[in-house]
Every structure is written in structure tokens, then in C-alpha cells.
């Protein structure tokens, strides 16, 4: 056997910077030149907070996005989907706390038609009645399917426990079984008219493209879109009551478990230290939680701890599952590990920093990954060099700063535990 090789010093890396171009209608284009990436990923990030949804119409933002590829004035009905397919374009919408994001992936030679079709979808959707009824039924059915999964129920219950119930994001983004049937086609048309606007929108284009040419195409495709709307601010995130509870899901052979804390956003000076802390506790295969719960005890297929930032505030969660018989043992061990009676070691902190910094150039190796991250920057209203700044911040994290962030935000903070499983699981498992 050859001797174990030593590692050479690792090179420096920074997140790519785009060519930035402001359009007259208030949109900004970020064009990233990524050589060798022949599939171009584009994301139109609309400044459209989820709290724009009218009372009792949870999910309308999702229903509207799902209707955008159902036909436009220029390409009515199925001819819009046919046009997408003719150019090899995949269309995917997503709704978040602060923005709605419309993504298209396409071969590089389809960029101009792709941008034109994307512009059509936001400018002149038809919202055909038949299509509306079909999408409404589909979204309702998707919620039923999501609600039939223990993992989804647990995640929904955790947000509800951690956040003030008057905050829209405390409830499921796509709505619920009560709200979706109340939505009418008129509601959809009104929502689009009142909230879809180029003002404050960011168009991200990533791939092996000429950034200036791509910006010119974006200008050509979107210049006629001039809808003005009254902007809505993202509502502040407020803490909830942190109740813990067991939810019975009949016939479960495994329990889905969540633990959660109120968190911070990426502008918080503790963000890098928190990242290191969650990585040590549950952010990698060799984390404290995974080592004990999976590799030593065989309790679970996996356990993770991660921080989820919103534009302002956020939350932190532990996600795992185990068979019914070991729920209490797993929770007892998890609480013991989270008590962190052993402070972080210098080796743990150094390993976590290396993991977080060195994984970045690998994680952002495709146009899709860069577009996805750039979308998060736009959604969080973060600067273009934010990722590079975070990497610099990580290098400055110490044992003390990581431990301080852990104590303040997790160890000494109120938390909620949610267990979704069979009827034989009692509230006793929640007791520490």
C-alpha cells in the first residue's frame, strides 16, 4: 500500500461576478459568463413578497406561477408549451418568502427565444378558465399528497411552532386545503395585475454566453414590459410560541422528527460562526449528531442540522427520522449531544471551516448552481460579492465565536420539538 498522500495547499476561489445592466423599465440583468456551460440557466426574480397574498387566499402566488406557462396572448393555450419545447426550454416556477422566481433552462442557442417566451409569460398570461380549474385541482391534490407524508407534516408543524402565526411564512407556501378552493380566476388575474412588475426585478443569466449580448437580448425581450404596481415590503419575521408536540399519523412505521430554533439572516455578524457551529453539530457526515445517531447507534438513515435564512431573520432545524421503538432513545441522545457539554475543539472548527470554504467551488460548478445562488442573493438583497465575503468571514471564525453563536442561538435559546409518527408514540418522548 502506498503511503497516505499529503494534501497540497488549496487555491483561492471567489464566486463569479456578473456583468450588470439596468433596463429602463426598472429591471436589472446579471449576466454570468461561465465557459463550458452549454445549458444556460436563467432566473427572473420578482420582488414579490409572499405576504402580498390576500387574507384567506394562501397559495394564490403559487397558483399564479403555475398558470404562467398555460398560454399567453401571443401563444394561447398549449401553443405556449409547444413553443417552449421547440426550443428545448424547461420552465420551473418557485415561490419564496420575499420573491417569486421563474426559472428557464435551455440550450445556449435558444437564449433569445427563451427570454422572449419568459417575458411573454409575465407580461401577457391569459389564465384560461379551463387551465385555471386544472391547476387549482392539481395544487389541491399536491397539498393532499404532501400532507400524507410524515416528513412534510413535521416540517410544516415546525415552522408553525417557531414563527408568529400572523406571519405569512409560518404557513405552507403553496396554501392549504381550505384556501386553495376559495381562489377564483378573478383573484388570479387581480393578483397578477397588482403584483407582477419589472420594478425591482432581477434577471439572472448564467452559462457559456457573451454577457453583453445576453444583456442586449434581455433588453429586447423585456423592454415592452412596463407595468407599474404599488410595491409591498417583506413583513418582519416574528417569533412564535415554540410549543412541542406529537402528531399522530396512522400506520406510520417510522417517526419524522424535527427540532427547531428561531434563527438569523445572512446579514447578522454571527452568520459565519453559526454556519461553523451547525456544521460541527449536524452539517456533515462526521458531525457529532450523525456520528452518534447513525454510525454508532444505527438509529437513523441520517440526521442534519442547518440554518435557513430569510431576508430578515430565519430558523435553524434538526431533521431526522427513526423507527417508532427508538424515538425516545434518539431524542434523549440528541438532547444530550445538543447540550454540548464538550466545547468545540480547534480541530472541529478548522475542519468545518475547510468543509464550508472548499466545497464552494465544487458546489458552484454548473450554470444551474450559480443561477440558483445568484437568485438567493437577489432574494436576500445581498451584494454580488456576498459569497466571497462569507468565505472570508469563515476564515476568521474561532472556537470562541462558534461556541458563542451556538450558545446564544441554540443551546440557551427556546426550541420546539415535533414528532410525527404512529399512535403508540406518546408525549412522554418530548420530556428531557
Amino acid at each position: 500500500m502506498m503511503p497516505r498522500p499529503h494534501l497540497d495547499p488549496f487555491g483561492q476561489w471567489s464566486f463569479p461576478l456578473p456583468h450588470v445592466h439596468d433596463l429602463d423599465n426598472g429591471m436589472t440583468v446579471w449576466a454570468y459568463h461561465l465557459p463550458g456551460q452549454h445549458i444556460v440557466s436563467c432566473v427572473l426574480v420578482l420582488d414579490l413578497p409572499l405576504n402580498c397574498e390576500p387574507v384567506d387566499r394562501d397559495g394564490i402566488a403559487t397558483v399564479v406561477t403555475r398558470l404562467l406557462d398555460g398560454g399567453t396572448q401571443t401563444h394561447p393555450s398549449v401553443s405556449y408549451a409547444e413553443a417552449l419545447a421547440e426550443h428545448g426550454i424547461h420552465f420551473e416556477p418557485a415561490v419564496g418568502q420575499s420573491t417569486t422566481q421563474l426559472m428557464i433552462d435551455l440550450p445556449a442557442d435558444s437564449l433569445l427565444p427563451g427570454l422572449s417566451l419568459l417575458a411573454e409569460a409575465v407580461k401577457e398570461p391569459v389564465f384560461e378558465s379551463n387551465d385555471f380549474l386544472s391547476i387549482q385541482a392539481q395544487v389541491f391534490a399536491e397539498i393532499q399528497r404532501q400532507n400524507s407524508r410524515g416528513s412534510t407534516l413535521a416540517s410544516i408543524a415546525l415552522r408553525w411552532a417557531l414563527l408568529d402565526h400572523n406571519v405569512r411564512i409560518s404557513r405552507p407556501t403553496a396554501g392549504n386545503l381550505e384556501s386553495i378552493p376559495l381562489i377564483t380566476r378573478e383573484d388570479v388575474c387581480d393578483f397578477h395585475k397588482q403584483h407582477y412588475s419589472p420594478a425591482g426585478a432581477t434577471l439572472i443569466i448564467c452559462g457559456d454566453i457573451d454577457p453583453q449580448e445576453a444583456s442586449r437580448m434581455a433588453s429586447q425581450a423585456f423592454e415592452q414590459w412596463n407595468t407599474a404596481v404599488i410595491p409591498t415590503s417583506v413583513e418582519p419575521i416574528r417569533r412564535g410560541g415554540f410549543p412541542s408536540h406529537v402528531i399522530t399519523r396512522e400506520d406510520s412505521v417510522q417517526a419524522d422528527i424535527r427540532m427547531g430554533w428561531f434563527g438569523i439572516d445572512q446579514n447578522d455578524p454571527r452568520w459565519a460562526s453559526l454556519q461553523v457551529a451547525t456544521t460541527i453539530m449536524g452539517g456533515s457526515f462526521g458531525s457529532r449528531l450523525n456520528t452518534v445517531l447513525r454510525e454508532d447507534r444505527g438509529f437513523t438513515y441520517g440526521v442534519s442540522m442547518s440554518a435557513h435564512p430569510f431576508r430578515q431573520g430565519g430558523y435553524i432545524d434538526v431533521v431526522t427520522s427513526t423507527q417508532t421503538a427508538t424515538v425516545k432513545d434518539l431524542l434523549d441522545e440528541t438532547r444530550e449531544i445538543l447540550a454540548a457539554s464538550q466545547p468545540f475543539t480547534a480541530t472541529e472548527v478548522e475542519t468545518a471551516i475547510r468543509y464550508l470554504t472548499l466545497s464552494a467551488p465544487l458546489a458552484f460548478g454548473t450554470a444551474e448552481a450559480v443561477a440558483d445562488q445568484a437568485s438567493s442573493l437577489a432574494a436576500g438583497q445581498l451584494p454580488l460579492d456576498h459569497i466571497t465575503t462569507i468565505l472570508s468571514d469563515l476564515a476568521c471564525v474561532t472556537v470562541d465565536s462558534a461556541m458563542d453563536a451556538y450558545r446564544e442561538l441554540i443551546n440557551c435559546a427556546p426550541f420546539s420539538t415535533i414528532v410525527v409518527g404512529g399512535a403508540e408514540i406518546s408525549d412522554d418522548v418530548l420530556a428531557s
Partner: protein
């Protein structure tokens, strides 16, 4: 395809088939180790063993402690995992170029000395981890058992494809250390291994590094394989009725079709895209837009030996029975088989395939996996460069012929999954 990925192949002195795909635009390297053993090669009563063994490959070796392989890769920012399929088990890591030698050393250590570390304790622990994985992915989710039933419907008992790689709880319980030793000695050696490297690596350097770290391992002998022979099409409309705590009724249809390596696969897959590959597809237009289904899909599982399976999934809209939905879906299949696709439909399907295939090749991790697969299944790594050219040479007639040959409605099986009342 306009873009050709440079590919170079060689073999180490002990028989590892090595492919190098240098990519000047990335800073990392994707390393893909493809052992030609999967669940199809498991013995009766040993289902799930290839996958359980995959877990044991992370439990240490002569110079690496349990869990250290993954932790070491992650400590250099790398991504690392493994998957077990019907015909292969792959282990893959994407690492910074600076960490390539260490990654190769880790892989060589477990290939040369895994059994030094595997003991009853880590076998028992990983058995429990795999059982939790089975609960999480199959047993505790709605419809989670349907693929197990679908393969059981399509293939006769004890056929290599009749069970899923996750296996059964009983068989997992019966796995012993003797099984581990026998499996390792039979399947895990250089002559049964394909290794692909994609990314920031020069060709000669890549070959030299693999030789450097693996050449001392005895080559072993490729295990004798009983060739899986092609089965005749399904007959008699085999059906299975399932029910459970599911939110909607779903109906599945399946067909035995030629394997992935058969030349009919390309036109067949184009036909499946025409059937259900986009919102402009026939199934979506006829079944979803008309409120019969919430969603409809059809796909080829891409099995490589004897037969593959094409299966459709249709979720019933409220008030629509599975029987009615299946009848309407089969009408669409019959129309496609009888009339064939239009040239416009074929063109659209080709463009969708362009985007999907080039998306897969965009990541060095997926590209390395496709290269290993091309070598294993087609004995030609250049398959990744030729695939789209071949697809673009197809005509509507080719697609029509493939669909009408493979998707005869009398040769299907049917599974209905009903919501328990």
C-alpha cells in the same frame, strides 16, 4: 453534438478500466468508481445485500477508520456518496484537484483491505441504518411499495430484476459476515471495476495516479455471470390491486421492452417524450387539461440486460376511476402506435432531449457517471458524445416503429393503487 467532450481510456496493469475526461473550466475532479455488481446479481434469499455491502464500504479498512473516508473527503470540501442499482454499485467523490491523490488512496485502501475492518458490530449497525433507509424511502411514504410490486409484476420470481436494490427486511436480517466476505471476494477487485475521472486532470497524469495507487491490488477474476435472457412480452394483462393510506387513486401500466443497449431505446425514448415529456405532450393535453388526471408520466427504467421496463403513472382527478383513466391513457398509446408522431412532435422531443442530456453533462459528477455507464453498458465511452447525434438522425418513422413495437396494449401489466376507504 457540436460540443465533444475529450475522452481517453486505458487499463491499469491489473485490469481497471480507466477513463479520463479533462475539463479546463473547473477546479475540481469528479472520481467515479463503478463496480459491475448490483441487486440483479444477488442470490435468492439475499435481496438487498449489494446495497448493504455498499454501506459497509464506509466502515473503514486497513489504514482508515470507520467513517473516516467520508469525513476526510468532506474535510477538503468534497462531495462523496454511493448508490446501488440493479447492475452496478458506484462510489463517487468530487474533490478539489489538490485532494485527488488522497481520494484515490482512500478508494484503493478499501478495495485492498476492506475485510480488515468489517466486523459483526458495524455489520449490525449498518443493517439497522439500511432498515431505517428502507422505512424512510419506501415503507413510510404513500405509494412507497409500488415499485417493488411493479417489478414483481413485470418479472418472474427470482429473476434478477424482480426485486428492488433495497431488498427485504427478512433478507437484510439474515445477512452474515460470511456473506460479506464472499461478496467482497467475488465482486470487489480491479477486473470488475471501471473508474472515470472528469475535471481538472491531465490525461497522462490521471492514468499514472490510478496506476500508482491501485496497481498493487491483485486483479482478481471477473465473476462468471449468467446472462439475463430476454423475456417475451407480458401477456394476459396481469393486474394487481393495491390499497392503502394514500391521498389519491393512481394507476400504473407497464411493458417489458428491449434493454437499454438495444438500438430501439433511442426512438422509444423519443416516443415517450412525445407521450408525456412536457406540457405540450399528448398525455398532458388529453388527460390533464381535460381534468381526468392530476398528472401523467411515462418513463423507461433503462435496465441493461435482457429487458427494460417502461411504466406510466397516472394520478386520478377527483371522481375519475382508475379504470376509466387507464382506458383513456391506453387510447392515447394506441393513437400514437397506430398513427405515429408528427414531425413537429419529433423535433420538439429532440430539443427537449438536447437540453436534458446536456444538463446531465454540465456537471463533472454526472458526466463521470455517464462515462462509466457508457463503458459498462455500451463498451464505448464515446457514447456520451454520440448519443445526441444518433437521436437527431431519427425520423418520425423510426419513432413510430419503436413505439408500436414496444407498447402494444395487449402486452401491458396494470397496477391500481386505491385510497383505502
Amino acid at each position: 453534438m457540436d460540443q465533444q467532450y475529450p475522452l481517453h481510456t486505458s487499463s491499469t496493469s491489473n485490469g481497471i478500466r480507466v477513463a479520463i475526461n479533462p475539463d479546463p473550466w473547473v477546479s475540481g475532479v469528479a472520481l467515479n468508481l463503478w463496480y459491475e455488481v448490483g441487486s440483479a446479481h444477488e442470490k435468492p434469499g439475499k435481496t438487498g445485500f449489494a446495497h448493504l455491502f455498499e454501506h459497509l464500504m464506509f466502515c473503514g479498512s486497513a489504514h482508515v477508520s470507520s467513517g473516516e473516508h467520508l469525513s476526510t473527503i468532506q474535510a477538503m470540501g468534497g462531495l462523496c456518496n454511493a448508490t446501488t442499482s440493479f447492475e452496478r454499485t458506484n462510489y463517487f467523490e468530487t474533490i478539489p484537484r489538490e485532494g485527488l491523490e488522497l481520494a484515490l488512496w482512500l478508494e484503493a485502501d478499501r478495495l485492498s483491505s476492506l475485510l480488515d475492518s468489517v466486523d459483526q458490530l458495524n455489520l449490525d449497525t449498518q443493517r439497522e441504518v439500511v432498515k431505517e433507509e428502507k422505512r424512510q424511502r419506501y415503507d413510510n411514504v404513500p405509494y412507497g411499495d409500488v415499485f417493488s410490486h411493479l417489478m414483481g409484476l413485470a418479472f418472474p420470481p427470482n429473476h434478477g430484476y424482480a426485486h428492488l436494490p433495497i431488498g427485504s427486511m427478512d433478507d437484510l436480517d439474515s445477512a452474515s459476515l460470511d456473506d460479506v466476505h464472499e461478496f467482497f471476494h467475488t465482486h470487489y477487485h480491479p477486473s470488475n471495476l471501471i473508474m472515470s475521472l472528469s475535471g481538472a486532470i491531465e490525461v497522462e497524469e490521471g492514468f499514472a495516479l490510478v496506476e500508482k495507487y491501485f496497481s498493487q491490488i491483485p486483479p482478481g477474476t471477473r465473476p462468471p455471470r449468467t446472462k439475463i435472457t430476454a423475456l417475451p412480452p407480458l401477456t394476459g394483462l396481469p393486474q394487481l390491486d393495491l390499497s392503502g393510506s394514500v391521498p389519491q387513486d393512481v394507476v400504473y401500466s407497464c411493458w417489458l421492452v428491449p434493454p437499454l443497449t438495444d438500438e430501439i431505446t433511442d426512438p422509444l425514448d423519443v416516443g415517450l417524450t412525445i407521450a408525456a415529456g412536457s406540457l405540450a405532450s399528448r398525455f398532458h393535453t388529453a388527460l390533464v387539461r381535460s381534468h381526468l388526471a392530476h398528472s401523467v408520466g411515462i418513463a423507461n427504467l433503462g435496465l441493461a440486460e435482457g429487458n427494460s421496463v417502461v411504466y406510466s403513472t397516472a394520478i386520478c382527478a377527483q371522481g375519475v376511476s382508475p379504470e376509466h383513466l387507464e382506458e383513456e391513457l391506453i387510447k392515447q398509446v394506441e393513437d400514437l402506435c397506430n398513427q405515429g408522431p408528427t414531425p413537429q412532435e419529433v423535433t420538439r422531443a429532440m430539443r427537449l432531449e438536447d437540453r436534458e442530456y446536456l444538463s446531465d453533462l454540465a456537471s463533472i459528477e454526472t458526466r463521470a457517471d455517464l462515462i462509466s455507464g457508457a463503458w459498462s453498458y455500451f463498451n464505448d465511452v464515446e457514447e456520451i458524445n454520440h448519443h445526441l447525434d444518433r437521436v437527431h438522425q431519427l425520423t418520425a418513422t423510426d419513432v413510430h416503429q419503436a413505439i408500436s413495437t414496444c407498447l402494444k396494449t395487449d402486452n401491458r401489466g396494470i397496477i391500481t393503487y386505491r385510497r383505502a376507504s
